[in-house]
Symmetry: C2
Subunit: 192 residues, 2 copies
């Protein structure tokens, strides 16, 4: 039986599916409109979301919440990255960085898995990098065109194919944390 990823974001689902297939696991996308809370910590948002999504579906599932934390902006846009992207976008974030020399930023992702019979488990992934000087690339989504992970020779996430992005990405790390745990839990039955 496929593992349910409760999300409405096809990009996230594709990134996660590509990883899961390497572990011999199949994911199923379910666009559940679960309630999200406001909090400064992604973990709190994701764990709460997983419980809500699981209650709505009545089946084990996981959710993922991610954000871009820019050091010089006191971690803005952080947990509200999706809203900030929908409103001021990459252009707005670049404008806020005009004249700012410290361009360090971190993408964080938290995956939370929940079963109807037990509380949520969560897994975090981070990637350090910097805010690019201008938007570059057309792949990925959100702030991908303005984020350069450390060690990627100045390329942005939006200039990478999923496979390459997954070598660096915060989401790849959190999803892999979940997948490894899930396979151990299932006694490796689903492993290739």
């Amino acid at each position: 039986m496929a593992l349910i990823f409760a999300t409405g974001n096809r990009h996230k689902f594709k990134e996660a599916s590509e990883l899961a297939s390497k572990y011999g696991l199949e994911l199923e996308m379910r666009d559940v409109n679960y309630e999200e809370i406001q909090a400064d910590e992604l973990e709190e948002i994701a764990r709460h979301g997983a419980e809500k999504a699981c209650a709505l579906l009545g089946r084990p599932c996981f959710v993922e919440d991610a954000g871009l934390f820019v050091r010089a902006l006191s971690d803005f846009p952080g947990p509200y990255s999706s809203y900030v992207f929908r409103t001021i976008g990459n252009e707005g974030l670049l404008k806020l960085m005009v004249g700012v020399s410290d361009r360090r930023a971190e993408f964080r992702s938290v995956v939370a898995y929940c079963e109807p019979s037990s509380g949520p488990m969560s897994f975090e992934g981070k990637v350090q990098g910097s805010v690019a000087l201008e938007a570059r690339g057309s792949r990925g989504f959100g702030f991908d065109p303005i984020f350069t992970p450390r060690g990627a020779s100045g390329r942005t996430f939006a200039e990478m194919a999923i496979d390459e992005k997954n070598k660096f990405s915060h989401r790849a790390k959190s999803i892999e944390g979940l997948l490894k745990w899930y396979l151990r839990k299932s006694g490796g039955r689903l492993e290739k």
Copy 2:
């Protein structure tokens, strides 16, 4: 018995108390750490918050949620105004408005009241105005120093005493909506 305003914001409480006293009502501040959801509409956030706060207190109470909606920024920072203020602040918002000629903005407030035995009632207040060219004034809180209500001769909320701010403010309107309804509901027993 005083009407409970579930908030940790002393500025909001002071504004509301000053209004309530004109209606012969007394407010009590309770800093309840109730859960807030993420939503694009303040009303949804406030109604949900009132239910949570009421459940925690086991007594009738109201909450208030407010935001600054800047037209040229697709309504940013909107429902996440508090977080945006804590991170990029007035300085960040002014930076986003550099070179933007349409400076129209609206402050919105929604008050939601809830009783243990019944669902929430909500009241909205709005004030139109514009984003000032620079921060002015030291009263109030949040984005008050950069918001000029229409009809205030260019003065910002932070340049006004509470009494004057309450003549214009979104929060005064939503709170008055609640107070009038509350007094009607109580049969005017508490009216002066």
